[in-house]
Amino acid sequence: MAHGAGGKATRRLVDGLFVPLLYDAQIGSEPDRLSDAARVAVGHSDVAITTDSFVVTPLVFPGGSIGELAVNGTINDLAVSGSRPVALVTTFVLEAGLPTETLAAEVRAMGRAARAAGVAIVGGDTKVVEHGKTDRLYITTTGIGQPLPGVSLSARSVRPGDKVLLSGPIGDHGITILLARGELDLEAELVSDTRSVFPLVEALVAAVAPGLRWMRDPTRGGVATSLNELALDSGVGIHLFEEAIPVRDEVRGACELLGLDPLHIANEGQFLAVVAPDQADAALAALRAVPGGEGAGAVLVGEVREEPAAAVLVTTRYGGSRIVDMLVGDPLPRIC
């Protein structure tokens, strides 16, 4: 299960099996091969392409459902790779006996999410497997996007001094799912943060494109895992200021009770960006000015330094510090 959790084991699986056996440098022209979407030259233009499968349980949770997640998740992978999401195709794997209304509700949710994001769902496939061979409904979405002009993202372009920005509060999705399973006698007024982050990305690109170095949406494995990947790929040290990281009280409370670190909890509607030092203020202003207040929670959470090489360090207000590693194992399986 850990190989699917988005942390260390996932990375080992990708680096150790998929990349050596499948990656073809002739076709993929993306210099940073392990980003959230690949670039492929089609005719005279580049296209971004990505895919993601969704196996969340429960199917419906406060703030969203598997259908919305399947659309927004793939849109976000395209967005944080610096592309405008254009179209999706989708595959449904259904368990025999799945109520029609359950499926219909999810298809409606997908339609709503796609329309809200201005993305077309242009094709799909359906498979039904025997009862008991899957858990009700799995959805895969594959998306293509158009790379935004003037954007060049790469972990290797990140330099000491660069600033780390975060679009809003973390951990909402993972903790919402955990509570929605009803296995803990815990309740909180908390909803998943599932949404398209493309409007935020677009504003950021418009404001600071040349100074924008790297973006990632911290889904499984959370902010800690995304930033550790950046640290490993670039060799730099990432310093986070604990007091600057926005975490809702409900999420903090649940994490305190359960011994989890909010930095390891999944998000479905936030993203991290690294920008040049002199662009941080402009970047934050642009995010916060996005209509509808979607970027109102954007904050500077850290900066890039030379040390500790290839690691993430969190400093506390009282001068303590700790290394934050990638997620190991999986505290909450099947969250997306």
């Binding site: 850990a2 400093t315 207000r317 001068g319 303590g320 700790r322 290394i323 590693d325 505290p331």
Partner: protein, 376 residues
């Protein structure tokens, strides 16, 4: 957030750290043991070492129940789980602990019915909901978790639930502290006493440590300020030449403990003559088993349990680390063969284990100069 933020207030923490520097004799080296794994975790998580002067050394104690469980017990528990129609239920902490033939999680991946529960009553609920299966709760923990196991067993007995049992690995903290103090290679100046264990047993059981061994002990909470304040209290005692039991965690720990919890434990458990602790060896009267009245719910009697003994991998130095003789990074396997992903020893598995805490929060920062640890 209430009950949390006031114990992490930077200004108060700064003042308390100042007080520690004032009280600590610069010509003396202090070795203080935090008995509880929860404290070990908190010390690393909050980076408290960065706040303490270098002559205050914190030694990590044996209070991590997963860490002190011998591998053979896990194998015995999993052997029961491999029997037909048995569900193995345990706390999440247990899931990645390696037995000789894999961890509970690895057994789950192979198709065994292994469930994470958040309390023993959840395991009993599972049994009630699945009458065609036998649910075995693999119980671990000190006096912190033993009362909830006891109450669950009382409920199972009262309701006549027949498809439920407990594989009891509950241990008691006092004999472990005694074993540590009896260890010849151990030089300690004082103890940060366990917080949650003391909510149950109270503070009296520690009195001999102060009286007979002359070591001060302060029962402590788990927030940064709790731990720093406990160190202040220990240093004050040492400075004044006193050695008594003090309670820093008064908001949670009553001096006399929790009588109802102790009564439930006495109803259900009695002491095993001896029990093996990983790293510490056999300690007499250090663990609990089910009383004869509860035999029908005792997995060790319901199923024939082999009583497997597995020696730890030779190169692993869990025992020395557990006793505080070696620091985690001084173990030959640390960070090489033994990592949180592929733990060889149990100290690397539980987040309360000192090796995992050190690996996760500390070890790559060891070489850092202090100046870059403060926000720019």
């Amino acid at each position: 957030m209430k009950y949390v933020d006031e114990f992490r207030d930077p200004e108060v923490i700064g003042r308390t750290a100042e007080e520690i520097r004032r009280l600590a004799d610069p010509g003396r080296h202090y070795r203080l043991m935090e008995v509880c794994g929860g404290h070990t975790h908190a010390i690393y998580r909050f980076g408290l070492k960065d706040v303490l002067p270098p002559n205050i050394e914190l030694i990590h104690g044996p209070g991590c129940p997963v860490c002190v469980l011998p591998m053979g017990r896990i194998d015995d528990g999993l052997a029961v789980a491999r029997q037909p129609l048995v569900t193995f239920a345990a706390f999440g902490d247990m899931m990645r602990v390696p037995g000789a033939h894999g961890s509970p999680l690895e057994h789950k991946a192979k198709g065994l019915d292994v469930r994470i529960v958040y309390s023993p009553t959840d395991a009993l609920k599972l049994a009630r909901a699945n009458r065609d299966r036998h649910v075995m709760f693999f119980a671990i923990g000190f006096e912190t978790t033993a009362p909830s196991t006891a109450l669950t067993l009382m409920r199972a007995k009262a309701d006549g639930v027949k498809n439920f049992s407990v594989f009891c690995n509950h241990v008691t903290i006092i004999p472990a502290i005694r074993a540590i103090l009896d260890s010849p290679d151990m030089r300690l100046d004082g103890f940060i006493g366990p917080g949650h264990v003391s909510t149950v047993i109270g503070c009296r059981p520690y009195e001999w440590i102060a009286r007979d061994e002359g070591k001060p002990i302060v029962v402590s909470g788990f927030e940064p300020l709790d731990l720093l304040q406990s160190i202040v209290m220990l240093l004050r005692q040492m400075r004044e030449g006193r050695a008594v039991v003090e309670n820093q965690y008064k908001r949670v720990v009553p001096w006399e403990g929790n009588r109802a919890a102790l009564a439930a434990m006495a109803e259900v458990f009695d002491l095993r003559p001896y029990f093996e602790w990983r790293g510490l060896g056999f300690i007499s009267q250090s663990a609990l088993r089910l009383r004869d009245e509860y035999a029908p719910w005792d997995a060790e009697r319901v199923f024939s349990v082999a009583g497997v003994r597995v020696t730890d991998p030779k190169a692993a130095q869990c025992g020395e680390v557990l006793k505080g003789v070696l620091k985690p990074a001084q173990c030959k396997l640390f960070g090489k063969e033994c990592t949180p992903e592929h733990p060889v020893g149990a100290l690397m598995v539980s987040s309360e284990g000192s090796c995992a805490a050190y690996y996760n929060y500390e070890h790559r920062k060891a070489a850092l100069p202090l100046k870059i640890l403060t926000p720019a």
